[in-house]
């Protein structure tokens, strides 16, 4: 039974991964992250490419193979379902520096709360079937423990974080993606 909201889960994520490069899924998750902890220079906001964050995070992780710092992906259940085909590729390549965090509220929250197929999909089992360490957690203590493990252990790891459907009202993020890209490249780029 989920007891934490998305905003509360995001706060825990930023406490455990304060400076790691983090790819953040679109819509309400980006806005709630900003509303909760502000803009961090290590966050890369994916504004409109639903289903792509895991693949983007995988690309970043592959581009930094010698860097032990984890690359974190914050995805939703609907987004992961749209980009589910990336998991076999993650499992095939097994990047040790990749952590996938799935905030699962069972709905497409950004578009009005329509249900997703996540309620009948065991993402941790799917991850495990792809060769990725997968765990499911549903409370504050579980979140902290699973994220600390994901940070400490070699990846790839997928943590399914069960959250409730509470959300906070936030303004739209209307930043130019070119500026977002340029800023993040300074953090993870080679030059």
């Amino acid at each position: 039974m989920a007891t934490l909201s998305r905003a509360e889960a995001l706060k825990i994520i930023t406490e455990i991964f304060p400076q790691e490069p983090t790819v953040v899924t679109l819509g309400a998750t980006v806005r709630e992250l900003i509303a909760t902890v502000g803009k961090r220079e290590n966050d890369f906001y994916v504004l409109d490419s639903m289903g792509l964050p895991v693949a983007i995070g995988l690309g970043i992780a592959l581009g930094r193979p010698e860097n032990p710092e984890k690359v974190v992906v914050i995805e939703g259940d609907g987004g992961l379902l749209m980009g589910l085909s990336a998991l076999p590729t993650v499992g095939f390549l097994k990047p040790r520096n990749l952590v996938i965090l799935v905030l699962d509220n069972g709905t497409y929250a950004s578009t009005g709360g329509q249900p997703t197929a996540a309620t009948t999909t065991d993402f941790a089992a799917v991850a495990a079937g792809c060769g990725i360490r997968g765990v499911t957690v549903d409370d504050d203590a579980g979140f902290h423990a699973a994220l600390a493990d994901a940070k400490a252990m070699d990846g790839p790891t997928l943590v399914r974080m069960m959250i409730d459907q509470r959300s906070i009202k936030t303004p739209y993020l209307l930043e130019d993606p070119i500026l977002l890209s340029a800023a993040f490249r300074k953090l993870v780029g080679r030059t």
């Binding site: 504004l47 289903g51 095939f92 890209s181």
Partner: protein, 170 residues
Amino acid sequence: MSTDNERSDAVIAGLAEIKPAVVPMLPSSTLRRILDWVMAQPDIRSFPVTREEEAVGIMGGLALTETPAVLIMQDNGVGNFLTALTTFPQAYHLPCFMLIARRGGINEYNSMIHLISERVPAILDAANIRTFHLDAMTPLDQWTRTVVKGYEFARITHRPVAVLVNLMGG
């Protein structure tokens, strides 16, 4: 007129000059000679991807880290990646160099692939994706140069660029 293998070898020469560190690739019988060469290179991390849009996400992530990369695929997969390509690397000004094999023309053996493949140049043009074209009418000595220049053009202009290669003789 050049042979299929000569055209593939000219593309391979271009890839050797580019020296990509990473090559995500989709399956393709037409590209087999090129894919075999890529997979045999110890300095290239090549791997299969399951879908074209996933490859675009990976390519964009690699571009953020400024890792030289080339995506290799067939043109009948273009329909799969258009949203990903336009909303991510194109919108975020990230280079994404794609080597895309043409299908559906002269010497095609599939009875329906032309329905998507014939329209790919128009589809990419409508999506404002820059393309360069190599086919049997292109002098062989232009192939390697165009592949290399296309890669450089993607980097210089910070956007997706595709070199469409017809290896089948059409």
